[in-house]
Amino acid sequence: MLKIEDLHVYYGGIHALKGLSLEVTDGQIVTLIGANGAGKSSTLRSIAGLVKNRKGKILFEGQNILGKTPEALVGMGIAMCPEGRRILPHLTVMENLMLGAYIRNDRDGISKDLDWVFELFPRLKERTWQKGGTLSGGEQQMLALGRALMSRPKLLMLDEPSLGLAPLLVKEVFEIIRTINAEGKTVLLVEQNAYAALKVAHYAYVLEVGEIVLQGTGEALIENPKVREAYLGG
């Protein structure tokens, strides 16, 4: 579904991604783990079209999407749930979700997906008319996930969805990622909670200062001594 070949990204003078290549297979959960500043977010932001200074190839369903605007990419079926949730605090839960469906005009489809999102996150349904900013951290994460789903994406990119959440909620988030995937969405997940991410992922890449240093199935990487030492606390 998604294939990145030799991607370079520069921020000012910093060479943030140095020839990164990876592949996301249709129907899978693929995760990118690594330390802070390794380039995980830069990778997602490049795919989403938010990074200007880049070269290489990003193929989505066979088409090179490098240079497309974020809004065009949403139309092609790529949705990103950004780091820090970034829900709109002054808009209601419903308005946040409708913003997610901004590119769509199929009323019936939208209301069907809305029902699905409320089924996934029953707590959002109780808070439809509440302002996004009044939700708890966990609820805001649910809202961000639901909002991303409302564009009916083929590829869902999640940037640190468990960041700052209580352990119980972290578990819930990963269960939901699994559910979303089981319903046919391909997921590209960036996480610093490496253990949970590897547990849920079909395939995983380890990123170090802008380069991929290891890859394999989630299970294989959990067993890998190098990964255990560097990311799983021994």
Binding site: V74, P82, R86
Partner: protein, 297 residues
């Protein structure tokens, strides 16, 4: 002062306040989205009045049609200004766009001086707007009733767009977080163009009504109403549409009533607004309806 006199002043204040408010909305909407003070906004007000003038005198259009075309043309001017002078500077430091705005303002005013000449032009006014009517002991122009009514209708229409439509939702979203809004599939540039279009249409409507109230137009007629409206926007809380309208009304009220109660101060009329600006900036910089300015995380 008799009650009748007071009511007459009140209507004058309402008229002036509506006109300030309509301009102020354009300032506040653009600021809310781009954090840019669009100094050229007062000049759109002037262009609106001139477009009607030329529509009626040059092309001999019926007045009503000329007004509608003038509003549409002014909206287009606002969009073109954004496209040429502000959009290329979207990623530049904020001060660059501000300087660009000042440049555009000078450019339009001086272009007006060349094309329209500096000679004030008399404005055609349909009789039914300016034949004084008497209600009991109160003598007022129909304008004094119509201007606030039109302003009210325009603001209601605008609020409907902002709060009940999809582009309005995108506008409110952009004002808080442009990047996230783009990730939702919104073409931010189109929404910004729409914002400039709407704001400019309201400024033009204000300019046209201003020209009916004070029937002489000249290329610099937008400068002072522009400043005043900017003050009204700050007073109401910049970024808030309702605030802009309330700020405009208050400013109109203060100006008219100060002169009505203290005629000796009439020479200082324009000074009241600026004193008010300084007081607000010192006491409550976020204005009446403004939100707390929070640093983006």
């Amino acid at each position: 002062m008799s009650l009748d006199m007071f009511i007459q002043h009140l209507f004058n204040a309402l008229t002036l306040g509506s006109l300030y408010g309509l301009i102020a909305i354009g300032y506040t909407m653009v600021y809310g989205i781009l954090r840019l003070i669009n100094f050229a906004h007062g000049d759109i007000f002037m262009l609106g009045a001139y477009f009607v003038f030329f529509g009626v005198t040059l092309t001999k259009l019926p007045w009503g049609i000329a007004v509608i075309l003038a509003v549409a043309l002014s909206a287009l001017c606002g969009i073109v200004i954004d496209r040429i002078a502000y959009r290329p500077l979207r990623d530049a430091p904020r001060i660059s766009a501000l300087i660009s705005a000042i440049g555009v303002s000078f450019f339009i005013e001086n272009l007006g001086l060349v094309v329209f000449t500096g000679l004030p032009k008399p404005v055609y006014r349909p009789d039914w707007l300016v034949e004084i009517i008497t209600l009991g002991n109160i003598r007022i122009l129909p304008l004094a009733l119509i201007v606030p009514a039109i302003a009210f209708a325009l603001v209601m229409g605008l609020l409907w767009i902002v709060y009940k439509t999809k582009p309005g939702l995108a506008m409110r979203s952009i004002s808080k977080d442009i990047e996230t809004t783009r990730l939702m599939g919104v073409s931010v540039d189109k929404i910004i163009a729409l914002t400039f279009g709407l704001g400019s249409a309201l400024a033009a409507a204000s300019g046209i009504m201003w020209a009916l109230r004070y029937p002489q137009i000249h290329p610099f007629m937008g400068v002072f109403p522009g400043f005043k409206a900017f003050i009204a926007a700050v007073l109401g809380g910049i970024g808030s549409i309702q605030g802009a309208m309330i700020g405009g009304m208050l400013l109109g009220l203060i100006e008219i009533m100060a002169v009505a109660f203290f005629p000796a101060l009439s020479g200082y009329r324009d000074a009241f607004a600026f004193i008010l600006l300084i007081v607000i900036l010192l006491m409550k910089p976020t204005g009446l309806m403004g939100e707390k300015l929070e640093e983006k995380v």
